[in-house]
Symmetry: C2
């Protein structure tokens, strides 16, 4: 396979400079209970404490900060199941760039409200009836807005990569890094960053079994899709990896695994109860892989990205009482 | 009033040494949303991330570590609505001291299970029918165990004081420190520690309106009690301040306020949803005072102790869906 370099460690280091003092340097949590249970040393990088409640702010700000003055004045548009939308909205507010967010009408209410609270215009669509990319491209074209996609963009990927860069800068070499995978922006950026510093580190992506397109794409080396998945991990409902992220995943990721809906809910309950952190379903995917023994790595140092914490508490609470 | 010195800043500094590398140095979280809403700078000292999920581990370990070899060999006993029991159980496990915990039979299941998991013997009693102090004293006497009460003990108070010591060491001078108040061990220790470093700092205690005995005691300067309170903040159901903590509260605390059950639940929801942290009802008392405008301090630097995060998720979740 030819080497493909739309994002380098230099881009990720430059993103880290750009985000310094603007994105949160999120805490890394450890837990004796987790270490005992997994017989390994686990470091949770808690992007649920990131601004807007998810890692997405890193990529969004990194992309918006690099627009031309003319692009900034016209404004930007994006499509997002929620967290990327909020991230773009806040980045726009900070950089004085008008933002328009196209969002499925079943996105959690807390995400819609938060996005509007950052001054963005929110346009809702029905996931069953509308192709969001098409809608977004048409709107962007009609309104002369720059489209910032949620993952398939080099500046977005570089921004997300700062998550793993920060983690390994803080805890040193890891044997294994577990990252959730939706469109592949986070895992691609994190794999590039972590392996640039520690080439022997293995990166494993984690998807819901109900939205296993990236896992199938990884194994068949052909882009696979998933349509309108019902997984509770709404951030992983993305139809497929992107034109940029797919080759990066093939090049930098060592393996892909999937976890069941029941494993996602059990892990969410465990992290809330024992680590005292609120994590959204997509945010627990990587943790579920190790806590549910889908991946075992006894004696190893393992990084786990907790990607976000935006939940509709009234909805999630129902899961815990069932 | 005569000065009363069962606990000095030296005792608290010695406790900090004793706890170094054993208790967690818990993170301090800040939130732009909270600062905007309160028009102040709020620093949340997150003892929900402490070992056993609450500040109680500090006092328990500090007390057990100072027992004589003979006392350690015989073992210790305590009575506790939950968190102090878990804390004694873990401290006992770490110091190889047998522990017996007397606990109300309506304490959250997660607390009972966790306490037993540290190797403690748990003895349950009915809160409506039994005086827990009497039961505990009788058991301790019969079994030759050293009784470590949950708050009315100089070594426990000194241990709890390390919470505020750590906070002001990290964030510098504060104008105001808000601390929840049950039996008064945490607030007494924190007030002594914080004022030793910053004499102009004001300390305000926060109780549930349904268990306002310390507030009434503070204002009348006579020890008041509350019996079998139904407050959701189970850590504040303690019948009264103690013989040691009451004079300390009178001497070191500047004011006492109360918050309603509805305010406690709203604040819990807010902290879970926006700060992404799991906090128990008692743990949100201090935060509720500032977020619900019971205390207003525009422009000030405010420390807020988040005392613990041990909840029965299945029970709490019901509150959020009602």
């Amino acid at each position: 396979m030819s080497q493909f370099h739309p994002v380098s460690i230099n881009d990720i280091q430059a993103a880290q400079q750009r985000l310094s003092g603007i994105a949160h340097h999120t805490p890394v949590l450890t837990s004796r209970i987790v270490n005992d249970r997994t017989q390994s040393q686990v470091f949770f990088k808690c992007e649920n404490f990131q601004r807007t409640g998810a890692f997405k702010f890193r990529g969004a700000y990194n992309a918006l900060a690099q627009l031309s003055p003319a692009q900034k004045q016209q404004g930007v548009l994006t499509f997002s199941s929620g967290n990327h939308g909020q991230a773009i909205a806040l980045a726009g507010q900070l950089l004085h760039i008008p933002t328009t967010i196209v969002m499925p009408d079943d996105a959690p209410g807390v995400k819609q409200t938060a996005t509007r609270s950052y001054g963005a215009e929110v346009i809702l669509y029905n996931r069953q009836q509308t192709n969001r990319e098409e809608l977004a491209h048409n709107l962007a074209s009609d309104r002369h807005l720059t489209l910032i996609p949620p993952y398939d963009h080099p500046h977005v990927i570089a921004g997300q990569g700062t998550t793993a860069l920060e983690l390994v800068q803080e805890v040193g070499e890891l044997d294994l890094l577990l990252v959730c995978c939706g469109g592949g922006g986070l895992i691609a950026g994190c794999a590039i960053a972590a392996k640039a510093l520690f080439p022997n580190l293995r990166v494993i992506g984690v998807e819901p079994t109900l939205a296993d397109d990236a896992t199938r794409s990884f194994y068949t080396k052909t882009l696979q899709t998933v349509t309108n998945s019902d997984t509770i991990a709404d951030g992983a409902r993305t139809p497929s990896l992107g034109q940029i992220t797919f080759p990066l995943v093939l090049q930098y990721v060592d393996d892909m695994v999937t976890v069941s809906e029941a494993a996602i809910i059990r892990t969410m309950f465990f992290l809330w109860e024992r680590l005292k952190i609120v994590v959204e379903p997509t945010g627990v995917l990587a943790a579920a892989a190790i806590l549910e023994n889908v991946v075992t790595a006894p004696g190893m140092k393992i990084g786990v990205i907790i990607s976000g914490g935006n939940v509709d508490l009234t909805q999630i609470a129902k899961l815990f009482t069932e």
